[in-house]
Symmetry: C2
């Protein structure tokens, strides 16, 4: 292998030649050159023009070798007797050289024979695939998987955004189902992880520095304990890639989003006094919601609406406006956005439908052009608007929502937005904001992430989406934000059927779900598996403290709950703490002699409140224990509300002492457990009746986040 | 391959020899004999004593062949130069014979050389494993998987109860993740499914007829398009298997369980007037629950309890008694059971704890012995008792439950039982029975299945269990019952962590979860993945009609719900109907021009009740459509209760016309959707607020059942 002094220049030269010839793929020698330039090991080879030469080349690279005739006229080398594999020593190479030449001449007397290629023969090791793709959503990605047909059938392959760090690359080796193979099974040698990670990183660097490389396959790569060699290289190029999506600067996003989400003055374009009109609902929600900023109704044919002076245009308002909420028909929207631009309003909330979602793609393009011209950020169109509870702001035509809290939710779909509002109200979920994104002509998930990142009222960001307009921008922002606050995403259209519905709904390009899955994980995002799970995470995660370690203990009054809770622990990739003898003895002291030893701590069914109290207190006080999962069982001796109150009391007492560990509770019992669960939630302890899985799923999500954020 | 005239006798002879020699495994030649007796193809082979002989044997079996020296003194044949592989013709076989003999003599001049083994050389094809195990829960099982280390790592193997039918065997070929490999990928030939299925069946027959065979491995089996050959055979025997568990006769179970579950007269042993005592709670529940049969309080120190004459012993009661509910301390239970036996009471409901679950294993054994002596069936001990709503019977110390319906639920754990009661009451779930099984000293899940099978008040049977005392009996009964009524099982202790908790809780042997999974599926059982799912299935499945075909249509007001519902469809192994053009056109007629074509039918958000009405009615009326999934979106135009009422009306109208298709509903909206969901449930339409997954999971379970029962 030859290291090139200036790899970028070397590759540039190759790509220029390919471009000049109008090709879309590199030849094998070009691929080899490119690989060598970036330190990607390929088999050693050389062309010999004499038997002695062949032997010298072979001796230098080591045996065994493969000999192949080199002649432009001989395409089917094997047929011509022009290939010898497994040649084991210098003497045989010399003989083989002569045989190969002789066979070739016999096969085609007119052939122009340039020599014999001597190639290092690869044997043994594990076959893997390292590759690269250009995804329409996420751009450059590196891929890793095992070689072979079984892996193809099982689709056991993993992706990371490029550029990939060394940690990213190493995580790929562990990120496939067949990962144990790489560590050596049945006495096989483990592969050289460093060499594989390095090759992944080299591919990543290559495609990052040369975006014309659209696809790349190193397949197979032979991975052994000593290193990794790419036996075959395929590189596809694209010299006219899609232009990058326009992204405002970070500080501009922060400035504008703060004015939009926390406005001092709101204009309602299309405000109305007529009940049933959207412009009337918006006015009512703003006024009755308790918003304290200025409200300017805009309506060309009214002087006053709901007691407020109305203006014909935003331009007539004699003061600054931070955001304009639109409640006018689609055809009037573009010109009104232009007026907003002239008035230097940074944001337009476009409730109106009738754009891309109904096929009016041109209308939406026009809108975006106008907005970009004036620097107006657009939310929507085709949305319910948004809520920002800490400003008592209901900039929406839906029902008001005023239960302040720390979860910021958004949805691409209005239907899901309504489900968020209903669930939140029903579960008394503390919310900082609920935002509709609809057609996402401009403002999208990463703008919201950027705003909520610096919004002190928001402790968790929860987003429903069907597509990402700019997956790379999202991933970059999410990676940063998720280090500070949990980011939960419900990505709809996961399955091919779902994706079909997604594209008919929004015209969005369906993303490959495996890529979404890997990139979201790489970005520290917790992916919700269902709508209900997304909502439960939004409700519970902000009130659950961050765990400080992996030692989880189940304390249960019902052995049966203990078993199901243990199942859920494993399902969530968690594990129960193994008790040292003193810990086991300490718990046993509190419980009847026939209670089960170890973890779960089974306090048994007939116990008085004191037993719950003692064991939970001990679990909180012992510094080796990091999280508690409680399985309550309704009995006459310890009724639900007695349990709930004593638990809330202990937790409060401990919080007073600076001990604040995650506790989640599963309650098995008659309907009184519902009241008890609500009481516990009110006291910032996630608790669930009739479920052993939701409490553990919630705890699992908090762990997942803490790990991704490097807090564990 | 030689077919043996009497295979059973032949194998018996081999096994007798193994037993006589005190061995636990068969030698290779013995294994070969056994395989040949049962038509399991093994490589052809023969021992030659001359070069000409070797050539003749090889020519008869076909080339290539392997030659191996046969000598008791030469164990390391390869080292001795005594193995030649890939010998291609008669001439080479003759030469090979001589070489092998010469090498062996050179290696060990004193070796007694018996000849040269000529063996058919297997090449190509797909390596698979066919095996058999004896599971402590389920007994004889056959296993199938792909060969190779990757499959071992991915644990891609599947099990079926033996004897396995041809359909069972074929389902195993499709039951592994790597199944597509068998069908031929990348141009490879598909394997011969008949040959593999036949080999599985032959193994199944062998181990069924010879239960001494404890384990068997055919590994690898070479599967090609032409057939399957087991290259290596390993058979492990056990001549002292565990004795079979005692099972009453079917008609005895039915007779006794009917008297126990639907008694005309109940005795309460340990009945009490003192509030707070279990014997008092049971009396109150029986009397206040509205039970119309006779109630006999048994208490040696009372003449009357709650207005009823009390007796010192059941033997003093001057009438027949069908069941005795026990509310006395553990130490008195055995003698009281004996009295029940003398009184010919067929069943004892043992609420008392203090038996195996507290370590008192002997006490429980004694109890069982007494009960078996008298033929008294035992429910429990260590249970809450049971409910049978249609007799207004609350034979339990827990809170009464009286909402009559068609779901029969049972739980091994009291905690889960309480969760069942609470959820049922909260969700107004119609229940026929709730039964606690506790320690399962006698009556277990298959006794309940046998009773509920013939109980007309029960339409679905839902069971929580941590283990099965007799998995084979359960599987056999479940296979029969599930053809008539859905059987749902929540098997706790799925994971190794869960299993650990299970064994500390009940002393039950943890079952291998993969085996449970496969056998439950083979038995037509729907496995619930979580407690909440089990409860939701119990609530919804009895009111959901059985689908008559696979054509599922989503009708939604919210495109976003449509996407998530589509995801859920795929997650449940279902698929959306592809519309023929006329169907698409018919739906389009009812919806705005910008609504999405095809399936999901997106009627869009702002539509009046009429649009839901038209599309749902059409979906019900068109005979090509078999099931509907509705995604409702809360709007001012069609509020939740308006939607709920119109839907209930259409469904009722259609039911009047004999059209009764499964419909499930997801409601996205503000809290009013909760009332609407309840209203729909009351009208026998499963409906769920804030969830797109539960409705489809429920529909999926009904489909799974219908398929398993052969109704689809």
């Amino acid at each position: 292998m030859t290291m090139i002094t200036n790899p970028t220049e070397e590759v540039r030269r190759v790509l220029d030649a390919v471009k000049a010839e109008g090709r879309t793929a590199l030849t094998a020698p070009e691929g080899k050159l490119v690989c060598e330039a970036y330190g990607i090991t390929v088999p050693n080879e050389g062309v010999a023009t004499s038997a002695a030469d062949a032997a010298a080349i072979a001796t230098a690279m080591g045996f065994p070798v493969v000999l192949k005739i080199v002649s432009p006229e001989i395409l089917h080398k094997t047929e011509a007797g022009g290939v010898l594999v497994g040649v084991k020593n210098a003497e045989d190479v010399q003989k083989g050289y002569d045989t190969t030449i002789a066979n070739a001449k016999k096969y085609n007397a007119k052939a122009n024979i340039l020599g014999v290629q001597v190639q290092q023969m690869l044997a043994g090791g594990q076959e893997v695939i390292i590759g690269a793709v250009t995804d329409p959503v996420f751009g450059k990605l590196v891929a890793f998987g095992l070689g072979g047909v079984l892996v193809e059938v099982l689709k056991d392959i993993t992706f990371r955004l490029s550029p990939a760090t060394r940690d990213d690359a190493l995580s790929m080796l562990d990120g496939i189902a067949a990962a144990p193979i790489l560590k050596g099974v049945r006495g096989a040698d483990p592969v050289n992880r460093d060499a594989l990670a390095k090759m992944i990183q080299n591919v990543s660097q290559l495609i990052t520095e040369h975006p014309e490389i659209a696809e790349m396959d190193l397949n197979p790569v032979f991975a052994t304990k000593d290193g990794a060699i790419a036996a075959d290289v395929r590189i596809v190029v694209n010299f006219s890639p899609a232009p990058a999506r326009f992204r405002p600067k970070h500080e501009d996003i922060v400035r504008d989003m703060n004015r939009i989400m926390k406005p001092k003055a709101v204009a309602v374009i299309g405000a109305s006094s007529e009940a049933g009109k959207i412009g009337n609902s918006v006015m009512k929600n703003l006024i009755n919601g308790g918003y304290k900023g200025e409200i300017y109704p805009i309506n060309p044919s009214a002087d006053e609406i709901m007691g407020l002076k109305a203006y014909k245009s935003v331009k007539d308002v004699p003061a600054d406006i931070d955001v304009a909420v639109f409640a006018i028909p689609a055809k009037f929207v573009a010109s009104a956005v232009a007026e907003c631009g002239e008035k230097k309003i940074p944001g337009a909330v476009l409730i109106p439908s009738g754009f891309a979602e109904t096929g009016n793609v041109e209308g939406q393009k026009e809108l975006v052009a106008v907005a970009q011209k004036y620097g107006v950020r657009l939310m929507g169109p085709n949305i319910y608007g948004f809520y920002y509870t800490w400003s008592n702001l209901c900039a929406t035509f839906c029902t008001a929502y005023d239960f302040k809290g720390h979860a910021a939710l958004s949805s691409q779909s209005g239907g899901i937005g309504m489900a968020i509002i209903g669930f939140s109200r029903s579960a008394k979920m503390g919310v900082s904001a609920i935002v509709g994104l609809g057609n996402k002509s401009d403002i999208d998930e990463d703008d919201l992430l950027t705003f909520f990142e610096q919004d002190d009222n928001t402790h968790i960001i929860v987003q429903h989406c069907e597509d990402l307009k700019d997956g790379r921008a999202f991933a970059e922002v999410a990676k940063r934000v998720s280090k500070k606050k949990p980011v939960v995403v419900l990505k709809a259209g996961r399955t091919s059927l779902g994706s079909k519905a997604a594209s008919s709904h929004t015209g969005a390009l369906a993303g490959n779900d495996k890529i979404y899955d890997d990139v979201l994980r790489q970005s520290g995002v917790i992916r919700a598996r269902s709508l209900r799970e997304m909502l439960e995470f939004a409700r519970a995660l902000p009130i659950l403290p961050t765990p400080k370690g992996d030692n989880i203990v189940i304390i249960t009054g019902a052995g049966g709950s203990g078993v199901l809770l243990s199942d859920a622990v494993v399902d969530n990739g968690l594990s129960l703490m193994t008790f040292p003898p003193d810990l086991d003895a300490a718990f046993k002291k509190f419980i009847p002699p026939f209670g089960a030893s170890g973890n779960p701590v089974d306090i048994t069914g007939g116990e008085p409140p004191k037993t719950y109290q003692n064991t939970v207190r001990f679990g909180l006080e012992d510094p080796r224990i990091h999280s508690l999962i409680l399985g309550y069982w309704h009995t006459i001796v310890t009724p639900p509300m007695v349990f709930a109150k004593l638990l809330a009391e202990i937790v409060e007492e401990m919080r007073g002492k600076g001990i604040d560990k995650p506790i989640v509770v599963s309650l098995a019992g008659d309907v009184e457990v519902e009241e008890a669960s609500e009481y516990l939630f009110d006291h910032k302890i996630p608790a669930y009746p009739y479920s052993t899985e939701i409490p553990v799923d919630v705890l699992g999500a908090k762990y997942k986040w803490a790990r991704g954020a490097g807090l564990l």
